[in-house]
């Protein structure tokens, strides 16, 4: 669970991890039901719209301006996002 919490970047406390861990274990046990389905000779389905290779003309289209894109950022500087250093 601790590794899962780290991978998910949730910053959970040990108590939260313990409580969530029990619930996740129950849910995993419930979805374990899938093991009973006969899926031999079945292909996976990732999407159901039936569309394939949808493309658009390779032309520039207007998007958000830098100011619009940054408008909701809590910390920014000189037209850029400001974040703590990667360590």
């Amino acid at each position: 669970m601790a590794n899962l919490g780290r991978l998910a970047r949730l910053g959970l406390t040990p108590e939260e991890l313990e409580q969530l861990g029990e619930q996740i274990a129950d849910i995993i046990a419930a979805v374990g039901k899938l093991a009973g389905a006969d899926i031999s000779h079945v292909n996976p389905t990732a999407q159901v719209g039936g569309l394939r290779n949808v493309t658009r003309p390779d032309e520039l289209v207007a998007g958000l301006s830098a100011d619009e894109a940054l408008a909701n950022a809590a910390t920014k500087e000189a037209g850029l996002l400001r974040v703590p250093a990667i360590q």
């Binding site: 899962l4 949730l10 910053g11 959970l12 129950d26 979805v31 039901k33 899926i39 719209g49 809590a74």
Partner: protein
């Protein structure tokens, strides 16, 4: 009687006959919200002055071109808070998006605005649309207008409650596993889950992108058809939107059910259904038969695996989609982090509630190496089986009918501590999302004073047949004019 109790077609006629203006209609809606929403809690925020501005523009349009204006011109509507609205705060019911003001609007919102609809505000929902009761909103509780001690259903609970309490003529919701149909059933309104691709998802804050669809919640089936006609159709900004033309849905729903073959899925009807729900469903089915439909038993054998497949696939997509919620580009930010990883963890820990945390962890687990084949890949194959079931059944019948949910609205707090019991609420609606087909919930009756919905499922892009069957249910039930009377009540903050 409030004008908001009238169907859209009648309001459209009144606006053109100058019996009232859109400004007057909008003022009625705003005062209904003022009077009732303290008890119901459907709206997270209202946009009164912008609404009146839009209403004035609609009145000008109606005066200049009454014949050319859309049926929705001047009609007050509202949007679930997962739909981006330019310049209006959009939170998806989550603290991590508190204060987020989108720089653009969702295509479905833009299409309603272009038709002249008047936006009243943003509606409460479960956080990132994850939930079946609306109790996962980070901001407030929404109550069922028929019984303020009960949930409105989720996740589009605010959207359903606002229509049920006659505070808006129509609302938009989103449905990933039943989030439009379930609250529609609980609140006694019509809710359409369009086929995957029928409505553009551009500007919808994503939950599970391969399952999400935007759809209308309304008082009547005809109202739903009118809203769907406006929002549906190809959008170059959503490459998964369907190319096929939408057609005249309002005309289609008048077809009646004479000669239609309606499938009665044995697996759905064998579930542990509340006796009141079962009795309403059986009565409605007999009425459909009396109106000329043929009821035919059908089998959807993979139903028993659908819920499990959904609770692998949806969380997997959640863990990926919500990775973008890191506090950097939007959200409350981070004050004291010493590294970027710590900053992400701070923002996400503060920003996400229990259900979102659960699903992100679950998704991270089923996608992690060593478990991918056993869970994610297997669930994708089961998804194929569920879709094949429906394909086969729709070669035998025109539509499938069932109850929308195993029970009517349950009490606030009843299922909060038991995630698996909450998940099982969606057992009858989830298969349609896995298969990408069309669905609708229509009020069919009452059980112990609470509304009960009937679900109609149609093939992919089969909204027309769903609406046709739903219109027949609505006609036989003859109860859409019944209105709840929420008593004034201090709204309790979550």
């Amino acid at each position: 009687m409030s004008l908001l109790e009238e169907p859209i077609s009648e309001l459209a006629r009144g606006l053109r006959a100058r019996e009232f203006s859109s400004v007057e209609l909008t003022q009625v809606a705003l005062s209904e919200i003022e009077a009732k929403d303290g008890a119901v809690g459907a709206f997270l925020r209202t946009t009164g002055s912008a609404a009146l501005e839009q209403a004035r523009a609609a009145d000008r349009h109606l005066a200049a071109d009454p014949g050319g204006a859309s049926t929705l011109c001047g009609i007050p509507v509202a949007y679930k808070d997962v739909l981006c609205t330019k310049g209006v705060e959009t939170t998806a019911g989550s603290r991590i998006l508190e204060g987020f003001v989108p720089p653009y609007s969702a295509t479905a919102v833009l299409r309603l605005e272009a038709a002249g609809a008047v936006g009243l505000g943003k509606l409460n929902c479960d956080e990132f649309a994850m939930g079946s009761s609306n109790e996962n909103s980070a901001f407030q509780e929404t109550r069922n207008p028929w019984d303020l001690g009960r949930v409105p259903g989720g996740s589009s609970g605010g959207s359903a409650a606002a229509v049920a309490a006659r505070m808006a003529c129509a609302t938009l919701g989103s449905d990933t596993g039943g989030s439009i149909r379930l609250p529609a059933s609980f609140c006694g309104v019509v809710g359409v889950k369009p086929s995957y691709g029928r409505v553009s998802r551009y500007g919808l804050i994503p939950f599970a992108s391969s399952l999400d669809q935007i759809g209308p919640l309304t008082k009547t089936v005809e109202d739903a058809a009118q809203v769907l006609e406006v929002i549906a159709g190809r959008d170059s900004r959503d490459s998964t939107s369907a190319v096929a033309p939408v057609g005249d849905l309002t005309e289609l729903l008048r077809g009646g059910v004479e000669g239609l073959r309606l499938g009665m899925p044995g697996e759905y009807l064998a579930m542990d259904l509340d006796p009141g729900v079962r009795s309403v469903f059986d009565h409605a089915a007999r009425e459909l038969e009396a109106a000329g439909a043929r009821l035919i038993p059908v089998s959807l054998p993979s139903t028993e695996y659908a819920l499990a497949a959904y609770y692998v696939l949806a969380p997997a997509e959640v863990s990926s989609n919500l990775a973008r919620m890191d506090g950097v580009r939007f959200g409350p930010g981070f004050a004291s982090a010493s590294s970027l990883t710590e900053a992400y963890e701070q923002a996400r820990h503060r920003g996400f509630g229990p259900e979102v945390r659960r699903r992100i962890l679950l998704g991270t687990y089923v996608l992690s190496s060593g478990y991918y084949d056993a869970y994610y890949l297997r669930a994708q194959k089961v998804r194929t089986l569920v879709a094949q079931d429906f394909e086969r059944v729709f070669s035998e019948v025109d539509a499938v009918i069932s109850p929308t949910a195993p029970s009517a609205a349950f009490r606030l707090g009843e299922r909060v501590a038991d995630p698996l019991a909450m998940y099982a609420t969606d057992i009858l609606t989830i298969p349609a999302n896995l298969a990408g087909i069309s669905g609708i919930s229509v009020p069919a009756g009452f059980a112990a004073g609470l509304p009960v919905g009937l679900q109609v499922l149609g093939p992919h892009l089969g909204e027309g047949v769903c609406l046709r069957v739903a219109a027949a249910v609505e006609e036989a039930a003859a109860l859409w004019r019944k209105v709840p009377a929420p008593t004034p009540h201090e709204r309790r903050l979550a």
